[in-house]
């Protein structure tokens, strides 16, 4: 019998992609469609004193302008409902949207953007998450800039230190990263005679977009349809709503299809990023190379809103001990508001940051002990039946086998003994 599983079958739609026939978000077009643009904050942290859209509205060719007052439910967020769709009394980062415009041409929409009058009262900004944790730091939301604190406790960390022959400490930092899908965010919204709102968008999670739209627009889910176009790269950047509510509101207001495509600059300034992390590791180890304790303190720069920051940090903390058997673990993760770009979902969800940190730290420990980095890893690697610091027992753990096969492909600096039993 022939099996389909395991076959090297090319993508089902590759023929459309290589002939230029795949329809991406940026390719959408409707007769009579309007083009939208979004006004972003000129300051990283400020009170909004005045917002006057009269001049923009009166520009010939402008079909509609929306501000916070036009949004039925202006708050969204996954774990924290902290983000306004359009700024109300305050702006918290340079990507905050203040108003959106639909016009008969992109050029008119761009021109109208410049005719919106905004008066700000600048507030002190805070851009360093460590400073933002200080009690007297300017506050971005409410009473504290610490949006969440995640804890993992496993074994007894003090006992771990007391049993260690050597303790190694490192501080590692990672930078802010953009998803940089080659296709920018792009979507088109249209409303039919029955009041059905249809959004065609280049997104990774249509059902999340639909439920968020339903809440924001206060329209039941059976009147909202999200259809995903060909997606020109996602990597987590097209995980959540970005532009869809604006174009839906503008389409509802004008009765015409509305399209919005972000410029590359907007992609960088106004969409989510990979969180920068500061990770302090402290590990205790026996002379023979057995890891006995590991502590991590993680500070994540959330940016102006939590978005997926808490779930990202949580995943990072869970994997903070790395792929190793360590009986005593203590991990603390802090998610901190700043006036920087918003950290969101991105491929690896916090683990690339931690992966860099624990693997460089692990090499440092091996060096201190004078043990080969591969041998040190083999000695401490997770195996079938090992536990993570969450207490979860793992079943299928071919970690050592991945080490063996990687070495087979490229070679290693010295011969190591491969344990036959522990797969």
């Amino acid at each position: 019998m022939t099996h389909v599983i395991g076959q090297r079958i090319p993508r089902h739609d590759a023929i459309l992609q290589v002939t230029g026939k795949a329809e991406y978000g940026i390719d959408l077009a409707r007769r009579g469609m309007l083009h939208a643009k979004v006004l972003r904050s000129a300051l990283p942290h400020a009170k909004l004193l005045k917002l006057d859209t009269t001049r923009a509205r009166n520009l010939p060719g402008v079909a509609a302008v929306i501000t916070a007052a036009d949004v039925p439910n202006n708050r969204f967020g996954f774990t924290h409902l902290d983000q306004p769709l359009l700024a109300e009394d305050k702006v918290r980062y340079r990507g905050d949207a203040i108003a959106a415009i639909a016009a008969d041409s992109l050029k008119t929409a761009e021109e109208a953007l410049r005719l919106i009058d905004v008066e700000y009262e600048p507030l002190p900004g805070i851009f360093d998450p460590v400073q933002a944790m200080e009690p007297d730091a300017p506050k971005i939301h409410g009473e504290s800039n610490i949006a969440s604190h995640i804890k993992i406790r496993y074994g007894d960390i003090e006992l771990g230190w007391s049993r260690s022959d050597e303790i190694v400490e490192d501080t590692l930092t990672t930078q802010m990263i953009e998803h940089a899908s080659i296709e920018p965010h792009a979507a088109l919204a249209e409303v039919d005679g029955r009041g059905m709102v249809t959004v065609h968008s280049s997104v990774q999670r249509p059902f999340l977009i639909a439920t968020d739209l339903s809440k924001i627009l206060k329209i039941p889910l059976n009147r909202i349809r999200v259809v995903v176009t060909a997606v020109g790269g996602g990597f987590g950047g097209k995980n959540e709503i970005t532009m869809e509510p604006y174009i839906c509101l503008l389409a509802l207001k004008t009765g015409k299809p509305v399209k919005l495509v972000y410029t590359r600059e907007e992609e960088f300034q106004a969409t989510t990023v990979r969180h920068p992390y500061i990770v302090k590791y402290k590990s205790g180890v026996k002379k023979d190379g057995t890891l006995v304790a590991r502590q991590a303190r993680i500070v994540s720069d959330a940016g102006a809103y939590v978005s997926w920051g808490e779930s990202t940090l949580s995943k990072a903390c869970i994997h903070g001990a790395g792929p190793y058997r360590i009986p005593n673990v203590k991990i603390d993760g802090y998610l901190v508001y700043t006036n920087n770009s918003i950290g969101g979902a991105m491929r690896g969800f916090g683990v690339p940051q931690l992966g860099f940190a624990h693997e460089v730290h692990t090499d440092h420990i091996a060096e201190k002990l004078g043990i080969d980095p591969l041998e040190f890893r083999l000695k401490n690697a997770l195996v079938d039946g090992s536990s993570l610091p969450t207490g979860q027992v793992l079943e299928s753990v071919p970690l050592k086998e991945t080490m063996r096969q990687a070495v087979q492909l490229i070679g290693w600096k010295k011969e190591v003994a491969w344990d036959e039993k522990a797969r």
């Binding site: 590759a14 290589v18 390719d27």
Partner: protein, 162 residues
């Protein structure tokens, strides 16, 4: 600003159109003529998604006023091959999984075509050089390089119909 009537030759076909001086070739191709296979990823000539062939040479159509393309031969992805009659490069891109999200593919394919037109037996380095102006965020380029090699082989063996 006055619109001017110009003739553009795209994929062997002539089009008489009205353009403004500030109209970019990429927008004219996509919005006026419907060649939406030409993609737009940055607007600053850095990603290569808008690559077209101008008199056989790859250029970024986002950095070119449409007026400048008068009297030149333009090839877009739609002119490379169709689903019914694929170019060997397109065939090789499909078979070697050289496309993931596919957004860079049109520009990438045209850069590769210009290479193979000039050099039927490119080395791996020559292939990488030829596509180094086309960013891909999905594939790590490995399968793209493989596909170009495979197409070169197919074309020199005469299996192809370039």
């Amino acid at each position: 600003m006055i619109e001017r009537q110009i003739e553009l030759r795209v994929n062997g076909q002539s089009f008489t159109i009205l353009v403004k001086p500030q109209d970019l070739l990429v927008d004219v191709l996509r919005d006026q003529l419907g060649f939406t296979g030409t993609k737009k990823g940055c607007g600053t000539g850095e990603c290569g998604a808008c690559t077209i062939l101008l008199d056989g040479k790859p250029v970024n159509s986002c950095l070119m006023p449409a007026l400048r393309a008068r009297n030149k031969d333009i090839i877009t992805i739609e002119g490379l091959g169709t689903p019914e009659h694929l170019h060997p490069l397109q065939q090789a891109f499909i078979e070697n999984a050289a496309v993931q999200c596919g957004f860079c593919a049109p520009g990438m394919l045209l850069s590769a075509k210009a290479l193979l037109d000039a050099n039927s037996h490119p080395t791996e380095t020559e292939i990488r050089q030829a596509i180094s102006g086309n960013l891909c965020r999905c594939t790590g380029y490995a399968k793209i390089v493989q596909a170009v090699k495979a197409a070169a082989q197919a074309m020199t063996q005469g299996d192809g119909n370039p």
